[in-house]
């Protein structure tokens, strides 16, 4: 949790938004997962989101669905994801790691066991797509106690009174979903999102990151004018899909993420 705060503080001092990059653990393969994460950092990603693959990712578009299926076929599971996080942490002591996924694999792993292993693996935050503020209060409290931030989603459809409730149960940062739709959707309306994010920042002291449907440096640059963080997922997942070697995978990560980092004004 501390690493998240430090990263957003540092970015604020540098007068820029943080670049948040998402990849799905186990995609395109188990062996390439760590090199992809490593290259994300080298290409300017400030915060790492590791997707925990799930068979029924109902909030994800086709790109992440397919990556998820492939990752499961490759044998990735919660234990594997936490092992990846731990290995990443050993090499990158200061880069925040957020796990993003759905509730059932976590329940099956065991809540207590998850919190202990995630703590030992240096996980900073957890975003459970299908756990809204109505459910999972105890889980969020246990995460907070372990210094793992429960990251909450705010959608374009979330009304004013509800926003207050949602941000109240969040820590680390608030994730604003930039489209009415699923990940990788092509309907991003930057002007509209900018005004929603400004409103959101009036109701919370937490940093606000924006994601879902962000793929180009232009979009990222425009959103960065108001948001504290910009999340890019499907574009990166699509770029590394099919990469067979470490060289290919690293090149694909760099080609996708570096222009985005540049657009946010990251000094390399």
């Amino acid at each position: 949790m501390k690493r998240l705060q430090q990263t957003f503080d540092r970015c604020r001092q540098q007068k820029r938004a943080a670049l948040v990059g998402y990849m799905c653990a186990g995609h395109p393969s188990q062996q390439l997962t760590l090199p992809v994460l490593d290259e994300m950092v080298a290409s300017g990603v400030d915060i790492i989101e590791i997707g925990v693959p799930f068979s029924d990712p109902m909030a994800d578009g086709p790109v992440i669905q397919r990556a998820s299926e492939q990752a499961i076929d490759n044998g990735m599971n919660m234990q594997g994801v936490l092992a990846v996080a731990k290995q990443f942490r050993a090499v990158h002591p200061d880069v925040p790691v957020v796990l993003m996924g759905y509730l059932n694999p976590l329940l099956r792993f065991g809540t207590q066991r998850f919190i202990e292993t995630a703590t030992a693996s240096g996980v900073d935050g957890v975003l459970l797509v299908d756990l809204p503020v109505e459910e999972g209060r105890e889980l969020r409290l246990s995460l907070q106690q372990a210094q793992i931030a429960p990251i909450m989603l705010v959608a374009p459809t979330t009304g004013v009174t509800r926003v207050a409730q949602v941000v109240d149960s969040a820590a680390g940062f608030v994730y604003f979903i930039s489209v009415k739709g699923i990940t990788g959707s092509g309907r991003l309306d930057v002007d509209d999102v900018q005004s929603r994010v400004e409103q959101l920042k009036d109701t919370t002291g937490l940093p606000v990151a924006v994601g879902f449907g962000v793929s180009t440096p232009e979009q990222a640059g425009a959103l960065a004018q108001v948001a504290d963080g910009v999340v890019v997922g499907s574009a990166l997942v699509a770029a590394i899909d099919g990469a067979g070697t470490e060289v290919d995978a690293r090149a694909a990560v760099r080609a996708t993420m570096k222009p985005l980092a540049d657009a946010l004004g990251k000094v390399h």
Binding site: S55, D56, M58, L103, N104, P105, P132, E134, T157, G181
Partner: protein, 398 residues
């Protein structure tokens, strides 16, 4: 104390709830509010009753299956004839109700998921009647298995979208419908076809199907002067079963049996018996019994009947199981197929393969209970849609 579940947040004890992405929550809240208004509105209920009667053909009769009863030599077997409904199954009870809610909410586009195609047909039917756009999501595998129903939906003006993700069956169609709804939530109403999904769906779909149990309870009292000793229904997502069970929950003397698809056997991985062989987890917006692997990935299921081929089950059944009020059992493919033939030959009533599971268990139960007892079986649908499946399994060219 009378039975009043779910609570205001859609919980049946530890089950149910609202486990979906934030984008959908406001839509679910709006639906919940509107539905609760409808529920307390006499005009809405009058409109619904009129549709039940004039459009669906309700009440559906109960029928004493005398030859079948004699063949078993045990308890009387009564059939609640949902197979006689318009479109051939109980599914229309729900789609007629949800369509009325959609109309009240001013939605212009209906979407639905379907497995066997029965719910897709029932949704396309009400969409045609109201002149609304209709999109039905259906797994690619199911589209191949249920070609006739796909054609029926298209005749009714619906667009059938093949789903190619995951196992390409009902659960994936449900994911895809949820994705559509998240994207088009402003003008779109999602008609879920069973008592699964996030709150308020399990409650709303139950309420629209509870007409089955209300009628049957009254009809049994009129015909036998007493309530049945047991009620039996097949359980896929659980809508026809909860529709039958719900009005009997406070009648302690009525035993309740939900029959799940044991497929190739409960000792294999190829079945769809979430309550009998699964464990609590979270799928499709609610906490319930599910079939998943040790990593928490949802498993592929198998049943001879596409309508029971689902790895989850409505949360109210999870509650009824854990509270001990209802019993859940499995019937395998072979037993269901045998019951399909037996009922067809004994009574001239060809049941859906889904309903055949309930019939198969009722045959066992009738023997156990013995004469002078009464068993009421929900004949949830008719078997016309399944004749190709039966022919194929038995190696017969039609």
């Amino acid at each position: 104390m009378p039975y009043t579940l779910p609570d205001a947040e859609g919980h049946f004890g530890e089950f149910g709830g609202i486990y979906v992405a934030e984008t959908l929550i406001p839509a679910l809240r709006e639906l919940q509010e509107c539905y609760l208004q409808c529920r307390n509105d006499q005009n809405f209920q009058a409109e619904l009753d009129a549709d039940y009667q004039d459009y669906i053909g309700r009440p559906s009769p109960i029928y004493l299956a005398q030859r079948l009863t004699a063949q078993v030599g045990g308890a009387n077997i009564w059939l609640k004839r949902e197979d006689l409904n318009h479109t051939g199954a109980h599914k229309i009870n729900n789609t007629v109700g949800q369509a009325l809610v959609a109309k009240r909410m001013g939605k212009t586009r209906l979407i639905a998921e379907t497995g066997a195609g029965q719910h897709g047909v029932a949704s396309a039917t009400v969409a045609a009647r109201l002149g609304l756009e209709c999109v039905v999501y259906m797994g690619e595998t199911d589209i191949q298995r249920q070609a006739i129903n796909v054609f029926r939906m298209r005749l009714l003006g619906a667009k059938v979208v093949p789903v190619t993700s995951g196992s390409k069956t009902l659960k994936d169609a449900l994911n895809e419908a949820l994705r559509d709804w998240v994207t088009n939530v402003d003008n779109t109403f999602y008609i879920i076809g069973t008592v699964a999904g996030p709150h308020p769906y399990p409650m709303m779909v139950r309420d629209f199907n509870a007409v089955i149990g209300r009628e049957a309870r009254q009809q049994m009292l009129e015909r036998c002067g007493k309530l049945p000793d047991a009620v039996v229904a097949c359980v896929g997502g659980g809508s026809n079963a909860i529709g039958l069970f719900h009005p009997f929950i406070d009648d302690d003397e009525v035993a309740m049996y939900g029959v799940e698809a044991a497929g190739h056997g409960l000792n294999t991985d190829e079945h769809a018996a979430s309550l009998v062989a699964g464990r609590p987890g979270v799928l499709h917006g609610n906490r319930t019994y599910i079939l998943d692997d040790e990593a928490g990935q949802i498993r592929e299921t198998h049943s001879i009947s596409a309508g029971l081929d689902y790895p989850g089950v409505g949360p109210e059944h999870a509650w009824l199981k854990d509270s001990g009020r209802a019993n859940y059992v499995g019937i395998d493919d072979d037993e269901a197929l045998a019951a399909f033939h037996q009922l067809t030959r004994a009574e001239g009533i060809m049941p859906a393969l889904e309903s055949s599971h309930a019939v198969a268990y009722a045959l066992k139960l009738a023997k156990q209970l013995g004469p002078d007892k009464d068993i009421l079986v929900n004949l949830s649908g008719r078997g016309d849609k399944d004749v190709h499946t039966v022919a194929e399994i038995e190696g017969i060219e039609v």
